[in-house]
C-alpha cells in the first residue's frame, strides 16, 4: 500500500519535443562528465595525472602533422562507410553488411590492379577499378535487398552472413595471389609500377578526405532535398503510407541498397587503391560495424556524422597512444573508449526524457 507522503523524489517523463539546443547542451555535458570519469579511473588505476593523460590522448590523435593527417584519413574512411549505411538505416533496412560490402569493393579493386598490371594503361585500370568496386559493393548490398523485397526475409541476418562470404572470398584470393608464394599475404601490389594506385592530391592523405567531403555533402542533399530521399523516409516510417501514396516499396528497397552497397564499395576502393595498396581479410578493421554506431549516434544526420566519426577515431587513436606512452596495454584504451561511449549513448535518454525533481507539492488549504 502506498503511504501518505511517500511521494517519489523525482519523476521521469517524456519530453514533448527536445529542441536542438537542449539536446546539444546535454550531449556536451555528457562528454565532459565522461572525460572526468575517465580521468578518475585513470588516476585510480595508474596513479598518473589525468591532465597529462588527456594531453596524451590529444597528442596521439593530433600530436604531429603526420598523426593529424592519418587521423583525418581514418575519419574520412569511417565517415564514408557510415554515410553509405545511412540511407538504408533511414529506410529501416538494417544493413549490418558494411564489412562485406567494403571488402568486396576492395577485392575488386585489388583484382584489377593485380590482373591488369601489364595489360592496360594506368588510367584505364583506375577507371575499371572505380567501376568494378562500386559494382561489387552494390551487388553485395542488393542481394539481401532483393531477398527482402521478394520474400520479406530478415535483412539483418542476410547482410551479416554476406560479410562472412566476403571474408572467405578475400581469404581465398589472398592465397591465389599471394606474393611471395607460401607467405599467405599479397603484400604491396604493383610496388614498382604503381599501376592502379589512386593519384595523390596534394599529399597522400587528401584524396580520401576530399572524397568523404563530397560524399557527405551529396548524402545530405540526397536525403533532404531529393524525391528519392523523401521516398526513403516515407518507406522507413511507414510501409502502409508508402503503398497508400503509390510508392513502389520493393523498388525503393532495391535502389537504396544499390546506393548503400556502392558507397561501401567506394570505401573499399579507397582502402585498397588509395591507402594500403594491398588487401587482407582484416583491412576493414571492423569499421563496417563501427559505422553502424557512428550513423546511429548522429541520428542519421550526415553532418552530425562528421563529429561522431571524428570522436570515435580520436578516442581510438588517442587511446592507443596512452597505452604506449604509459606502458599500459591496449585494454586500457578500450576501457576509456567504453566509458566515453557509455556516457554519449546514455545521454540520449536524458534528451528523450526529462527528470524533474518534485517541489513541495503545494498542499492546498491555503
Amino acid at each position: 500500500m502506498p503511504m501518505k507522503n511517500k511521494e517519489p523524489r523525482f519523476y521521469i517523463s517524456k519530453r514533448a519535443d527536445a529542441d536542438r539546443r537542449t539536446a546539444w547542451t546535454i550531449r556536451i555535458i555528457a562528454i565532459v562528465i565522461s572525460l572526468i570519469v575517465c580521468g578518475i579511473v585513470t588516476m585510480i588505476c595508474t596513479g598518473d595525472n589525468p591532465i597529462s593523460i588527456f594531453a596524451t590522448i590529444f597528442k596521439g590523435a593530433f600530436g604531429t602533422q603526420r598523426k593529424a593527417w592519418i587521423t583525418l584519413q581514418y575519419v574520412a574512411v569511417l565517415l564514408i562507410i557510415s554515410l553509405a549505411l545511412t540511407p538504408a538505416f533511414k529506410m529501416q533496412f538494417w544493413n549490418v553488411g558494411g564489412e562485406g560490402q567494403v571488402l568486396m569493393g576492395g577485392l575488386s579493386a585489388a583484382a584489377c590492379m593485380i590482373t591488369l598490371e601489364n595489360k592496360l594503361p594506368n588510367a584505364v585500370v583506375i577507371l575499371l577499378m572505380i567501376v568494378t568496386s562500386l559494382l561489387a559493393g552494390a551487388i553485395w548490398g542488393v542481394i539481401p535487398a532483393i531477398f527482402k523485397a521478394l520474400w520479406n526475409t530478415n535483412e539483418t541476418l542476410s547482410t551479416l552472413m554476406m560479410n562472412y562470404i566476403a571474408t572467405q572470398l578475400v581469404a581465398f584470393f589472398t592465397i591465389v595471389w599471394e606474393v611471395p608464394k607460401g607467405s599467405g599475404k599479397i603484400g604491396i601490389i604493383n610496388q614498382n609500377s604503381n599501376i592502379g594506385w589512386l593519384p595523390n592530391i596534394g599529399n597522400k592523405y587528401l584524396l580520401s578526405i576530399l572524397v568523404a567531403i563530397i560524399v557527405t555533402a551529396g548524402m545530405y542533399v540526397y536525403l533532404k532535398y531529393t524525391k528519392q530521399g523523401y521516398e526513403i523516409s516515407v518507406v522507413g516510417e511507414s510501409l502502409n503510407t508508402a503503398r497508400y501514396v503509390g510508392i513502389m516499396v520493393e523498388k525503393v528497397i532495391v535502389r537504396t541498397m544499390i546506393l548503400s552497397g556502392a558507397l561501401c564499395g567506394l570505401a573499399g576502393l579507397l582502402l585498397v587503391g588509395g591507402i594500403n595498396h594491398t588487401i587482407t581479410t582484416t583491412i576493414t578493421n571492423g569499421q563496417g560495424f563501427t559505422a553502424v554506431m557512428v550513423s546511429w549516434l548522429a541520428k542519421f544526420h550526415p553532418i552530425g556524422m562528421i563529429f561522431t566519426s571524428l570522436l570515435i577515431i580520436f578516442m581510438d587513436r588517442g587511446a592507443s597512444e596512452i597505452s604506449t606512452a604509459f606502458e599500459l596495454n591496449q585494454s586500457f584504451a578500450d576501457i576509456l573508449t567504453g566509458i566515453i561511449l557509455f556516457f554519449i549513448i546514455g545521454c540520449e535518454f536524458f534528451i528523450r526524457y526529462e527528470v524533474r525533481f518534485r517541489k513541495d507539492s503545494g498542499k492546498e488549504n491555503a
Binding site: 502506498p2 503511504m3 514533448a16 524525391k227 528519392q228 516515407v234 503503398r243 501514396v245
Partner: protein, 508 residues
Amino acid sequence: MNNNEIAVSLRNITKTFVGTVLANNNVNLDIKKGEILSLLGENGSGKTTLMNMLSGIYHPDAGQIIINGKEVTINSPRDAFALGIGMVHQHFKLIDIFNATENIVLGLDGKLNLADAEKKIKAICDKYGFEINTNKKIYDMSVSEKQTVEIVKVLFRGAEILILDEPTAVLTPQETEHLFQVMRNMKEDGKSIVIITHKLNEIQSISDRVAVLRQGEFIGDMKTSDSTIKEMTDMMVGHAVSLNIDRPEPVDPQPRIKVENLTVLDEEGVVKLDNVSFTANRGEILGIAGISGCGQKELLRAIAGLEIVKEGKITYIHRDGRTEELLGMSPREISELGVKLSFVPEDRLGMGLVGNMNIADNMMLRSYRKGSSRFFTDKKTPRDLAEKVVDQLQVATPNLDTPVRQLSGGNVQKVLVGREIASEPRVLLTAYAVRGLDINSSYQIYDLINQQKALGAAVIFVGEDLDVLVELCDRILVLCEGRVTGIVDGRTTDKYTLGSMMTQKGEA
C-alpha cells in the same frame, strides 16, 4: 444503490506537460459509490490526462486525491490497483501471443496458479455477464473480446472504481448494448464507473451523471436525466452549437464510379467482398453502413488501387462520358490517368500520414512527384499548402514543423482531410472520418465533406454512427459479411431499418 457516499475525490488537480498548455487546471471532481459517471469534453480537454493521474500513469503537479476519505498518493498503476482503481485504456495493453487467462494474471505477485485464476475469472464473468473464452489467444480475438479481457483484468485485481476510456469507439451497436448491460450489473454491485465517450446518446443511456471538462478546466456536472444533448454540447463547447448536419440536394448527379461484381479475398482466401455492385454519383454522398469488418475497408482499398481483386470491374466515368478501368491499377497509375481520387483511410497515422514528419512534409506525400525537377523535391508548394490548411481548417499546432503525431486526433484528421481535398478530388473516399473526434471537429469534417459534394465530387463515406449516416448521406449502401444487403435513400430511411439490414445476409 443511490447512496451519495463519495468514492473518489479529486481536489485542485493541476498537471502541465512540458512545452504545452495546462492539461488540467485546478480540477475538482467527485466520483460517487455505485454510480456511472460520464466524462465529457472535446479532444484535448484533459479527460484522459485526469484519469491517467487517478490510475497512476501520471502524477499531478499539484492537488490531492482522496479515496474513501483518505488522502493518497498514486505513483504507479500498481498503487492504483491497491486502492481499487482500474483503468481500461483506449488502446489495449495486451500480449498478443498469450491467452486471456495469461493476460489477466500478468504482473500479479505470488505464485502462478492458472487453474485457480481461471476459476476466479469464470466467477467474475458469471457475476457480471461477460462472455470470455479463457483459452483463446489475443490475436484470435475480436476488438470486443479484447476489451472484455481488459475489463475482466481490472476486476480480477479487485477494482472498485473502473475507468473506461472511449470503450464504445470500436464496438458495434450490439456490442455496445452488451457492454452497457455489463456496466449496469457492475453498478448494481456497488462499483463506481467512469466512462469517457464522445457519443452523447450513449451518455444519456448509460450514465447517472455527466461531468464536463473544457480546456483542462472543470466546467460543471449535472444529472443525466435532467439534461439534454443540446445542453451537454453547449457546455462542452462553451457556446451554443447547431446539431443539425446539412444535407443539400445533389446538383446534377451523374454516375462517376461504377463497381460491378467486385469480389475480394483476403490472404487466407476468406471472402471479404462478394459480388458487390453499385454506382456512386458525382455531387452525392454515398454512405456505406455495416458492422465493422464486413468489407468496408476492402471496398475502399479496392477502389483506391490498394487491394488485390479476384474479379469484377471498377469503372471511372469522366464528365464527357469517357470511361477508364481502374481495376488492376496502382494508386500511382490511377493518378497518372488523370483520375483525381482522394482517400482518407481509417488508420490516419499508420497509413494516411507519417507521424514523425511535420505538416508540410505530410502535404508532400501526394505532391512530391510533381514539381519542375526530376530529381529534387519542391518544398515550397507543400509548405504553402500546409499553411493554407492550418489556416482554413483551424488546425491547432504550435507551428508547421511539429510532427503530426504530436497533434490531437481531431487536428491530425484535419491535416489528412485538408491534404486529400486540396487536389479537388473527383472521387473522395473516407473511412470512419470522425472516429474519436469531438463534436466540433466532427462537424467541421462533415462541412468539408459537404463542400466536396457541392463541388461535384462523388463521396463514398464509410461510417459507423447510424444517426450520422442517416442525416448526412444521400444514399446508403449496407454491407453484411461482404455482400450488399441493399441501397436505400438516406432521406427516407431510418437507423432501425439500416440496423436490421446490417445483420441480415443479402437475398440477392
